[in-house]
């Protein structure tokens, strides 16, 4: 019986190989970025905005003459948040000669990490993946480039401390989290800071998909009655939580959502800007429209006689796409300097990534300083609060409790 199976297998493999070879055309002055992005699948709520944003930025750079005359070719593959498809995408982009890659999703990132080290291809993974990947010595090819969950948790505690008058002694903090590894990831930091700051911490798990949390809301607002709430939720659940807390009469200005609970879509789904007034969001890329780069993208579309894409209205996620794409472009720019104008190797792109500093893209990007040791770039965040129908900056870029976070990174298993 196996013989027939094998003939089909051969045929399919031949077809795939043929198409793959056709797809991998070599060009001279082209830098290839392998971009895995999810416009479909469970995380499409982010991907449908993030992926076009990255493409827009690459197009903007190309329209301005590329990087020192080199054109960027970003090959985008939608892996629909599935691991086997992510592996196929990775191998395909590797074959195309990708100098730099982007993953999307924690399971995909952990599944591909071993390959990265084998193939020595630097990869950005902002806002997900492994917090310990901030350690450039242990994860040499993984670049979180944005604040990890650990840095976010530390910053959220710092923000709570400032809001509650400079001391957390005897205060109560509730942590509402999505009950999966990513949701639980921030806990060690919150527990470590509990000892240091002397607050009372209680955690409330929300089982996936998190659209029903009446019990948790009552637990939080009626029984525990916290002084501050830190929310680490994904997908549709942040809006449910905002709505629930508001309905229970809890003041939203005493709530901070970590990065995946902080987009325009969450506010709108929670009942609109008026409902969510006061809610604090933690961001690793600037929110809002007041950045020159967004103006340039709009001008680029205008030149083509088109309206700016509707994705731009979702400023939080769109700007994160810009952050990721711009850091990649800067890394390639640095790599070209290292290689002296030759086509850089992946190793040179890695070094280029580790030289990024003083690059803020008009305030959209935090003052990152990526080094060979610190692939997180410092763990900068900024709080934006819902105020009068938009996100208004409530703090400047800041980082908090670096000693605690760094200790956790060093001692992570």
């Amino acid at each position: 019986m196996t013989k027939r199976s094998r003939s089909v297998l051969a045929l399919a493999a031949g077809l795939a190989a043929g198409l793959a070879c056709a797809a991998a055309r070599a060009d001279d002055k082209v830098l290839i970025i392998g971009d895995q992005c999810d416009r479909t699948g469970p995380t499409q709520i982010v991907g449908t905005v993030l992926c076009p944003a990255m493409q827009d930025y690459y197009r903007l750079i190309n329209s301005k003459g590329g990087i020192d005359g080199w054109t960027i070719k970003a090959d985008e593959i939608d892996n629909a948040y599935k691991v086997p498809e992510a592996i196929e995408a990775y191998e395909r982009q590797k074959q195309m000669g990708a100098l730099l890659m982007t993953f999307y999703g924690t399971p995909q990132t952990v599944a591909l990490n071993q390959r990265l080290e084998q193939d020595k291809i630097p990869t950005t993974s902002p806002g997900f993946g492994i917090s310990a990947a901030a350690d450039g010595k242990r994860f040499p090819y993984l670049f979180p480039i944005a604040a990890t969950y650990w840095s976010q948790a530390a910053a959220a505690v710092k923000f709570a401390k400032d809001q509650l008058g400079g001391s957390l002694k005897g205060k109560k903090i509730a942590y509402i989290y999505y009950d999966n590894p990513a949701g639980k990831e921030a806990m060690p930091i919150l527990e470590a800071l509990q000892k240091q700051e002397g607050y009372e911490l209680r955690t409330f798990a929300v089982p996936p998909p998190g659209v029903e949390m009446g019990a948790q809301i009552i637990d939080v607002t009626q029984r525990f009655r916290p002084d501050f709430v830190i929310m680490h939720l994904f997908g549709r659940s942040p809006s449910v939580a905002i709505k629930g807390l508001k309905g229970a009469g809890f003041p939203l200005k005493k709530v901070v959502g970590l990065v995946w609970a902080s987009a325009e879509a969450d506010i709108l789904a929670a009942g609109g800007w008026a409902t969510a007034e006061g809610y604090n969001t933690l961001q690793f890329a600037g929110a809002g429209d007041d950045y020159p780069v967004r103006g340039e993208i709009k001008a680029m579309y205008k030149k083509d006689g088109k309206d700016p894409p509707k994705e731009m209205a979702d400023t939080v996620v769109y700007n994160r796409g810009l952050l990721q794409a711009s850091i990649q472009v800067e890394a390639l720019r640095n790599a070209l300097k290292i290689s002296g104008g030759q086509k850089p190797t992946t190793e040179q792109v890695k070094q280029g990534m580790e030289q990024i500093k003083d690059f803020t893209l008009g305030g959209l990007v935090p003052p990152l300083q990526i080094t060979a040791d610190d692939h997180e770039g410092g763990g900068w965040v900024r709080i934006f609060s819902v105020k009068g129908g938009k996100f208004a900056a409530a703090t400047d870029w800041f980082k908090a409790y670096r000693d605690v976070v760094e200790h956790a990174v060093k001692t992570a298993e």
Binding site: R4, L15, A20, T40
Partner: protein, 355 residues
């Protein structure tokens, strides 16, 4: 057409029992085996081999599920969970006890078989869609357990990194080496399944599937054989989980969630229930279809749409085509790709004299 069945006489019991009674069939199998075991890893590049590796992993899982769903008629949507049981058992053995692969793979399989047999207990009382729900519960319970019991999951991240398998002191690093490693288990699984389904146990499975009361009356111990079916099927699933973990270098329960169970069920149904070849077809179809449709759309989509729009369309169109093709094949041949293939083969068997 080259198959001439006349003139083949079986003169011994061994000849009668052979898997491939026709000499030409034996030769084809030998040639294809040579092609895939020797030539493919040497001739193909990393990218095609990585796709083949994904197919090989899926073949083992689909074979296992087909034993349960196709041969024994017990439905299960817990494959993903059994895979994760295998994966975590092996990962813990490898990290804590430095178990070699020849211990880790069967251990993962056995643990999954044990859990699978326990999950199979409701099948003694309930059937069909009710059993599906019971196995769904198992999927969720196992996921929850791994997520919350850090002794199993190895920490908050619920992922355990494992080194590449070592054979004769050599760590398997390249895709070609992993391909051979996986191929070994695929051949083992294929031979085991082919022989299982024509053994006493396999015949009992089929009897239970076709009419369980009749099977009981002719003396088949339903209790035992239903649990066998769950245990054997879960063993295959557990081995699949271990192989996948070896391939990725990590055991992570998010890789084995409910959508994976559904994917495997799709493989078995599209490939053909109750056939070994069908499982292979199904595994190839479900693994390759998304890849091939995307490559196709990328090559020819630019004729219809400009670049930026195309990026938005491809992923969504891919889902539409994927779903459409599954419906198409099921409408054309509800008994799966295997039946489709057999119809073609039977036509050509007597061609050009089809009367």
């Amino acid at each position: 057409m080259f198959h001439r069945e006349a003139g083949v006489f079986k003169t011994s019991y061994a000849a009668d029992m052979a898997l491939y009674p026709l000499p030409i069939a034996r030769w084809t199998v030998a040639v294809l085996a040579g092609l895939f075991i020797v030539v493919a890893p040497l001739a193909l590049g990393t990218y095609p081999l990585s796709i083949l590796n994904l197919v090989l992993i899926a073949v083992v899982g689909a074979l296992g599920l087909n034993i349960l769903v196709g041969y024994s008629g017990q439905i299960s949507i817990g494959t993903g969970a059994f895979m994760s049981v295998g994966a975590y058992t092996a990962a813990n053995l490898i990290t804590h006890l430095h178990a070699p692969f020849w211990l880790a793979v069967p251990a993962g399989g056995l643990m999954a078989a044990l859990i699978g047999a326990i999950v199979g207990i409701p099948s003694l009382r309930i059937k069909g869609i009710y059993l599906a729900i019971a196995t769904l519960a198992a999927q969720l319970i196992i996921e929850w357990t791994i997520n919350h019991v850090q002794a199993i999951s190895g920490g908050v991240q619920a992922s355990i990194t494992i080194p590449r398998p070592t054979v004769f002191g050599m760590a398997l690093k390249s895709e070609a080496q992993i391909y051979c490693f996986l191929m070994f288990f695929v051949v083992l699984a294929l031979v085991a399944t082919l022989n299982l389904v024509r053994s006493r146990i396999g015949r009992a499975f089929v009897a239970i599937r076709d009419q369980d009361i009749a099977a009981e009356i002719i003396g088949i111990n339903i209790f035992r054989y239903k649990l066998y079916a769950f245990a054997i099927s879960s063993f295959f699933a557990g081995v699949t989980g271990v192989l996948e973990s070896y391939y990725l270098g990590i055991a992570n329960y998010e890789q084995f969630q409910i959508d994976v169970s559904i994917d495997y069920l799709a493989m078995v149904i599209i490939g053909g229930l109750g056939s070994v070849l069908g499982s292979v077809f199904g595994a190839i179809f479900v693994t390759l279809l998304p890849i091939v449709t995307r490559l196709f759309l990328e090559q020819f989509g630019s004729i219809l749409l400009p670049g930026a729009d195309l990026l938005n369309v491809i992923p969504n169109l891919r889902l539409v085509i994927f779903g459409g093709l599954i419906i198409f094949f099921l409408v054309v041949e509800p008994e799966g790709l295997n039946r489709l293939w057999r119809n073609i083969r039977n036509y050509f068997r007597v061609w050009p004299f089809s009367y």
